[in-house]
């Protein structure tokens, strides 16, 4: 059993609280998280896998592993890569239903729109939507 979506979010909120709202440190931390994200195969970085609605390029794929959905992601910008890595950390390996129904409270708790701005916030929302759509689409595959 993976750690629950709620628990992982709580850990993230705690980690960010140490940064004490310092914007520069927060950016460095997010980029550091991005650097740790598992590499995505170059052949997956196709036009088709680009998340629409992001100013930076974000590639996202979803696969089934047993009864779980596994996400892979990458971005051409370091900060966005860090942001999508947070979502991968929370949602990858979870059950499709849990992803579809997930309530993502961590962006608000860590005050994300304050330090990433409106444009990136919209892009971030687009990533979440895409992940939920993938999970929804893969649900039937898992159930079959």
């Amino acid at each position: 059993m993976p750690e629950s979506i709620k628990d992982i979010q709580n850990s993230i909120v705690e980690e960010f609280s140490i940064l004490d709202g310092d914007q520069e440190m927060t950016n460095f931390y997010i980029m550091e998280l991005g650097q740790k994200l598992d590499a995505m195969d170059e052949h997956l970085k196709t036009e088709e896998n680009i998340v629409k609605g992001c100013q930076s390029k974000v590639w996202l794929t979803a696969d089934v592993d047993g009864d779980a959905v596994v996400f892979k992601a990458d971005s051409n910008t370091a900060i966005t890569k860090g942001l999508v890595s947070l979502l991968v950390r929370i949602l990858s390996g979870q059950k499709a239903d849990d992803i579809v129904n997930a309530e993502l409270f961590f962006p608000q708790e860590i005050g994300m729109d304050r330090f990433i701005g409106t444009q990136r916030s919209n892009g971030f929302a687009a990533m979440i939507k895409q992940m939920k759509m993938y999970a929804f689409a893969l649900k039937s595959k898992i159930e079959a």
């Binding site: 310092d22 914007q23 520069e24 927060t26 950016n27 460095f28 980029m31 100013q55 930076s56 051409n76 910008t77 370091a78 900060i79 966005t80 330090f115 990433i116 701005g117 990136r120």
Partner: protein
């Protein structure tokens, strides 16, 4: 005895100038603001802000046809700005100055009037690879409608126009050449006098996009002999939403109206409407009175400190930034033309401009990232965009040091 010129008297008191700009004195993300996005829009001195405030508080009224005192005052102030712009660009007559929303509308006005009337199928319009989208798209729309062709002056790797190629593009088919005085993305100052003279030799008219030049370069439309010159107030310390188009009288008089409405007419009947004289023929509807009035204070600000003294100081900032940025590992300056306004575009190896922009913002340093509305130029240079720092008279070397410090930290982290 003649006075000994030390030069010190000519120097600007930057600290005093900074005091004129309230917005500069704030913290952004806990750090003092360093505003380097002046090519997008400059900040406004208190005199401009107060003028706007005074107008709405004291004499807001619709202009030109009012008989009452407030209308009289507003009309007078509005027309004072027209005269100031005339003097600012040394136009022959005040009637040659048309108020618009800004450079973009000025260019669209020419496309919709002069362009509609004069451009025919098979004619050619020449623009350059350095142009802002607003000096490309209106011509594309027109060319599409008329079956005319757009020809493009190529740009060298360093950001300078290929003038030999330009001269080869000119022919009796050329009806209009539309180029900028200075590039918003790279800072290149274009040899517009030479461009204008060559265009006139084949009978073409010339429009100059002066958006980036107005704050930094001397403008003398009579000496340049350009046919049209477009400016925006907000690029040189004035309010947004107002600007001007200069056009030679005989051209303006022959051009059809731009928009129909009040102000631009002489007499209206359902049988026949006659149009007003220039400049009013092109100023349909109630204009942006308050901002036009405040615009005058922006011109006064530039005149007070002296454009050439300001440009000399900005050039010093540009040279300083160029030297400091060049020392950063992996940093590449995009646009190294010999003559530049105070704009510096750059890229750092393996670091995306968006990341640089956001990291600098975290340190209170405002730069612009992306294609700067010059996608064809970016494509020509084989890049998606740049980080751009553009300097105004209120910027300081100390602020540049803070930007460099921020960049050093990013580079160190990314390694």
């Amino acid at each position: 005895m003649s006075e000994v010129k030390t030069g010190i008297k000519d120097q600007l008191d930057i600290e005093a100038i900074r005091k004129e700009f309230p917005v500069l004195h704030q913290e952004v993300n806990g750090k003092p603001l360093a505003y380097f996005d002046n090519a997008a829009t400059t900040q406004k001195p208190l005199a401009v802000i107060n003028a706007l405030n005074d107008y709405y508080k004291g004499y807001n009224a619709n202009i030109h046809r009012g008989i009452h005192t407030l209308a009289e005052r507003a009309t007078k102030a509005f027309e004072v700005t027209r005269e100031s712009i005339r003097a600012f660009i040394n136009a022959k007559e005040r009637e040659e100055i048309i108020f618009t929303k800004g450079t973009t509308e000025s260019i669209n006005l020419v496309a919709a009037t002069f362009g509609r009337q004069e451009i025919k199928a098979g004619d050619e319009i020449i623009v350059s690879e350095l142009e802002h989208h607003s000096n490309i798209v209106p011509w594309q729309i027109l060319a599409e409608e008329k079956g005319a062709d757009i020809l493009v002056i190529p740009v060298f790797e360093n950001g300078e126009l290929d003038m030999e190629s330009y001269k080869k593009l000119l022919s009796e088919k050329t009806k209009l050449v539309a180029v900028n005085h200075a590039s918003n993305s790279l800072g290149t100052i274009n040899p517009i006098k030479e461009i204008i003279t060559a265009a006139h030799a084949v009978g073409a008219k010339v429009l100059i996009d002066g958006a980036q030049a107005s704050a930094h370069l001397p403008i003398d439309v009579q000496e340049l002999n350009c046919d049209f010159y477009a400016i925006s107030a907000h690029k040189f310390y004035g309010p947004t939403g107002t600007g001007a188009l200069y056009g030679k009288r005989e051209l303006l008089e022959n051009m059809p109206p731009y928009q129909g409405g009040g102000e631009m007419i002489k007499d209206v009947s359902f049988k026949k409407t006659t149009f007003n004289d220039i400049p009013y023929k092109f100023e349909a509807g109630t204009p942006n009175i308050g901002d036009v009035i405040a615009f005058n204070e922006a011109i006064n600000f530039v005149n007070k400190h002296g454009k050439s003294a300001m440009a000399a100081y900005e050039n010093e900032l540009l040279n300083y930034a160029t030297e400091k940025l060049s020392a950063i590992d992996g940093l590449d300056i995009i646009g190294t033309s010999k003559a530049k306004v105070s704009v510096i575009s750059f890229l750092i190896e393996a670091i995306h401009p968006f990341d640089i922009g956001q990291m600098l913002d975290a340190r209170g340093v405002a730069v612009r990232t992306g294609h700067h509305c010059t996608q064809p130029l970016m494509e020509r240079l084989g890049i998606e965009g740049t980080v751009r720092a553009s300097f105004a008279v209120y910027n300081t070397k100390d602020e540049i040091d803070r930007m460099v410090e921020g960049l050093d930290r990013i580079v160190k982290f990314m390694k």
